[in-house]
């Protein structure tokens, strides 16, 4: 523990800005994975333990696309679309068979694919750490905000995630598709009886969740290295965020992810050995005070 360092940091705006910016990118990456976890759970009723593996796939798809085209835009599109399409196929072939099944069957199917995908990545890309490096478009001098340095890519990543959150909220809240999705989450059979192909809706939702995870993997590629098994930590963090925010709540996932990001960032200054413990402790406190999560509805 080094609380003096934490107090010193809080008394210097430069340190605060730097830690907030790194906390934001940690949080935003977690949010993009957790929003898919919470969406898939809220609508499909499946806890997708393979969601971290989808994040990993997105990173590797993005790396390959970047090496081939040298364009980060193409890399992000490849990560998102490639992983989204993989998600649709995965849902149709495997996940769709465990709807309504007990959580252990769902866990088994997902965990099998965590192992399969980790090995597939090892077979295709090798087991070494791979790094994209900072794309040229972002190889700029850092932004100066209140005396603190913020890399331009951090600002881009944060803006991208916030835009994704707004787009997702608008899709679910304002469009007919979103209304159908929310109705199907409550009463799938009735939605089907009204002439709506709910299997298609489910596949699209799973694909959307996968695409968000894939985009997160692509966005992580310049700042983290890709390795088989890289999806595990972010999966655990996403589950914590989902629990803190409330199962099925996108807004909850957003707030929860920022909380975790900030604990991580400021924790490295003040309590580097205890950040995980503090994260779990926060989850425990939320569960005690609001068992359904910050934005969750009781009884769900």
């Amino acid at each position: 523990m080094n609380f003096d360092a934490l107090i010193d940091c809080f008394s210097a705006s430069a340190c605060v800005v730097t830690q907030i910016s790194s906390g934001l990118i940690i949080g935003m990456l977690i949010f993009m994975v957790a929003s898919g976890v919470t969406l898939i759970f809220g609508v499909l009723g499946v806890v997708n333990f393979a969601h971290g593996a989808l994040y990993m796939l997105g990173a590797y798809f993005a790396l390959t696309a970047y090496w081939v085209t040298d364009s980060f835009t193409v890399a992000v599109l490849a990560g998102a679309i490639g992983t989204g399409l993989f998600g649709v196929v995965f849902e149709r072939l495997f996940i769709s068979r465990v709807y309504g099944a007990d959580v252990l069957s769902q866990l088994l199917v997902c965990y099998a694919f965590v192992l399969i995908l980790d090995d597939a990545v090892k077979a295709i890309w090798g087991g070494d750490f791979l790094s994209m490096g900072m794309p040229e478009a972002f190889a700029l001098p850092p932004l100066m905000i209140a005396g603190g340095f913020v890399p331009p890519f951090y600002a881009f990543l944060t803006a991208f995630a916030v835009a994704s959150a707004i787009a997702l909220a608008a899709l679910l809240g304002l469009t007919r598709f979103g209304k159908i999705v929310r109705a199907a989450a409550v009463n799938r059979q009735m939605v089907g009886v009204l002439g709506i192909n709910t299997s298609l809706v489910y596949a699209l939702i799973f694909g959307l969740g996968a695409a968000l995870a894939g985009a997160a993997g692509a966005l992580a590629a310049p700042v983290r290295s890709a390795t088989p098994g890289m999806g595990f930590d972010i999966l655990i963090e996403s589950f914590i965020v989902t629990v803190i925010g409330g199962m099925g709540s996108i807004a909850g996932a957003f707030v929860g992810a920022i909380l975790i990001g900030m604990i991580r960032a400021f924790g490295t200054v003040g309590f580097p050995l205890a950040t995980e413990g503090v994260t779990f402790a926060m989850m425990a406190v939320v569960l005690l005070v609001k068992p359904a999560g910050l934005f969750g509805k009781a009884g769900r």
Binding site: A183, Q189, G192
Partner: protein
């Protein structure tokens, strides 16, 4: 006149137990056929089987002479069958208007007869509540909403499962008037009921179901004067 909807020799099981035994039913275009029977006689199961929610194990279902047996519920709906379940099943956290919009689809002829505006003309009560959460509506209002929501899909045949159940007499009268309106609009109706008087007011012909079998078929006029049938199969 040709049959709009026809059911032939339909058997339905729940698990190992057989619920329906060789159901035959035909609904002519524009007719209002009542399926009468006591509680547990098999009315709801018949409707669920037609709608694809409880697929039949034997027998066939034809819509306009096309075999639709075993189709997924959404495909059956797209063939022009609108199913209004007994327990209403509004989407409680959606507004009245959103409930209606979720049900919207063109009819089998590609046309849209039932727009939101027309629905609100026929159901003025829903118009004044369009922004309200459906879960906050009274039972009668929810019943109106489920019927309206199904109409938004422009069905050729509508299956109404006990629309009068549990409602106050004044609401039941409103529902009866509504069914008369739908008939004038040319909607073919199959109506499940326990309430014989309600059926006499709205239906053109009747089938009686008892213990999973059709035991009587005839016109409403014939049923009115057949006290023996009424005593044996209906709670009169």
């Amino acid at each position: 006149m040709s049959d709009e909807l026809r059911v032939q020799g339909m058997d339905v099981y729940y698990g190992a137990s057989q619920i329906l035994f060789g159901i035959d039913l035909a609904v002519e275009r524009g007719a209002t056929v009542a399926l009468l029977g006591r509680n547990g006689a098999g009315k709801s199961t018949t409707f669920k089987a037609i709608a694809g929610v409880a697929p039949p194990r034997a027998g066939r279902v034809f819509m306009r002479e096309q075999d639709i047996t075993g189709f997924a519920p959404y495909r059956i709906a797209r063939r022009g069958i609108g199913y209004v379940p007994e327990d209403r099943q509004v989407f409680p956290e959606h507004s009245v208007e959103d409930n209606l919009r979720i049900g919207a689809k063109p009819g089998t002829d590609g046309a849209v007869h039932w727009t939101l505006e027309r629905i609100f003309e026929v159901f003025p009560i829903l118009s004044s509540m369009r922004g309200r959460m459906a879960g906050r509506l009274s039972g009668g209002e929810q019943q109106m909403l489920t019927i309206a929501r199904t109409l938004m899909g422009n069905p050729d045949v509508i299956l109404l499962d006990e629309p009068s159940e549990g409602l106050a007499p004044i609401i039941v009268q409103q529902i009866a008037r509504l069914i008369a309106t739908l008939r004038k609009e040319g909607v073919t109706i199959l109506l499940a009921e326990q309430n014989m008087h309600f059926c006499i007011a709205v239906a053109t012909s009747v089938a009686i179901i008892d213990k999973g079998q059709i035991v009587y078929r005839g016109s409403i006029e014939e049923l009115k004067h057949n006290d023996d049938i009424k005593r044996r199969y209906l709670a009169v």
